[in-house]
Symmetry: C2
Subunit: 303 residues, 2 copies
């Protein structure tokens, strides 16, 4: 079984209270595919410009990721630059150059159509639906989104919700989208709009999983990090770890308990991601690193 | 074994987005002692004025709480009034009448001195130390505090930390006290100031427990409430549930695992407390209610 990740690939410039790094590998599909690749064969659908650094692509191929679905355009690559404040939950975006993403139309190579776990990482809801429409019969479809689309493409986002098995969204966005201050209400209302499962990411606090009814609920804490170097891509790494570990089960029916384990794996990948700029820590992990932190998670939550 | 709770007893007026209630039972010792009383014999040290409503005291005695240590003064009772906003994490204090608390000097009845679990609920650090000094040989001492004392009595708070086994504090206060934006750093630094254990309450996200080193860590999620009627006293109910359930173990040495279970019990009591104004839901609980929610907690966090 394989994971398909559709999303953006970017050139990022990131400043944090400790350092600034220019022209790094970024984008939702980059983080998600690297995280997924530790668990299952992973394929990427995205677009880059003629100027995209070869060494960034080498990071993906070095992880064995199938990049046939990454279109190389004549245009300039998508670029993002931003800055994190002393409170790392506060971020200012300095510049976004959409470039090749503006007219992007996801095209799945023929060999990608049979992907069982499909991840619609953060990009426009229309791009997400276009990518999904090219899949034959996925076992489980997961979509992420962000505040930009809640504001710009609310109706398309509601349409997307009727087509996916799981929505992954952060806490502030879930409240804004559902117009409530209560995360539990937001999670249940989002689920009522279509997806079987909803995950609300709560940053340093972890993630909440909502299922069929009030008894299907799971809360996963975040790993206790005393130092965060760069939180960029944490949500995407979470998504990739979740999808990859779900795929590794090789199931054609996903149970609620399977999702719990997948979310813990996602949280492990997100925590490692925060410990370096770009994908530096993430792409250099070993299976032993992942297993060790997964075991710690169990110890930190069992009573 | 018995729990001693030293703290304030108040007449509260609380407004939330759904209703306003006048002249209710409030104060840290009221909430904490009621929560504790479901698990262990509980004694209270506090002060009230001549005007304190008899029916409020009847709630305490109705729960079998020993009120010999509640001094009845000639003065007026301590009063607090405040308002919660649509986002219930935001609270505005409208009025505080310190009254009898101003010159309060906690006095333990002779029969209280052998208390094994001592809770120094929220009041001035000096009052907390004065109450503790009258105890013979407590097994475990827990102190709570608030931003007021971090600002007004920082040095006394540091002195208090050297005398207690556990500090319980909320997330914003922990960051402010330790001057950091990272909760994990705050927890470890607070521990380094004296207490063997530190609990940081994270509101709707639950609580974090820090122990001797990085391997002694526990994260307890909050119970998923889709409606919160009045969060006043949630932290105090947590404290009381924690102390009472710890006392019920009857141990003279407290292990880290004992604290985990106690924290889950505290979280159960805090969640029920949020479902009504004042102590209405809390004081009318049954053992079955408590056991049921404790079991749900396990299911919601196990993977």
């Amino acid at each position: 079984m394989s994971v398909l990740i559709a999303g953006s690939i970017a050139i990022d410039t990131v400043k944090t209270p400790v350092a600034e790094r220019l022209n790094q590998l970024g984008g939702s599909a980059a983080y998600a595919s690297i995280a997924s690749s530790f668990f299952a064969p992973t394929r990427v659908v995205s677009i880059i410009g003629h100027d995209f650094p070869k060494e960034h692509i080498a990071i993906l191929t070095g992880r064995g990721i199938d990049i046939e679905g990454i279109e190389v355009s004549e245009g300039e690559s998508f670029r993002w630059s931003g800055e994190y404040h002393e409170d790392l939950n506060m971020r200012t975006t300095h510049d976004v150059a959409v470039n090749v993403l503006e007219h992007f139309q996801p095209k799945l190579p023929a060999g990608y159509r049979d992907s069982q776990i499909v991840v619609l990482a953060n990009m426009s809801p229309q791009n997400q639906m276009d990518a999904l429409a090219q899949c034959d019969a996925p076992v489980y479809v997961i979509a992420d989104t962000m505040d930009l689309w809640i504001n710009l493409a609310r109706e398309q986002l509601f349409e997307l919700l009727t087509k996916v098995d799981m929505l992954v969204i952060n806490d502030a966005e879930a409240k804004e989208f559902m117009r409530t201050n209560n995360l539990i209400v937001a999670g249940r209302q989002l689920r009522a709009h279509g997806p079987k499962h909803v995950v609300i990411k709560t940053g340093e606090h972890g993630a909440l999983l909502f299922g069929a009814d009030e008894s299907e609920f799971f809360r996963c804490g975040a790993y206790p990090l005393h130092a965060v170097e760069d939180p960029t891509g944490a949500g995407d790494s979470f998504l990739g770890g979740l999808a990859g570990s779900l795929c590794a089960l090789g199931k054609t029916e996903i149970a609620f308990g399977d999702l719990k384990n997948a979310i813990v794996h996602g949280t492990v990948m997100a925590s490692y991601n925060c410990q370096s700029f770009s994908t530096d820590r993430l792409h250099s992990l070993t299976q032993g690193d992942i297993d060790a932190r997964y075991s710690e998670f169990r110890k930190f939550t069992e009573f």
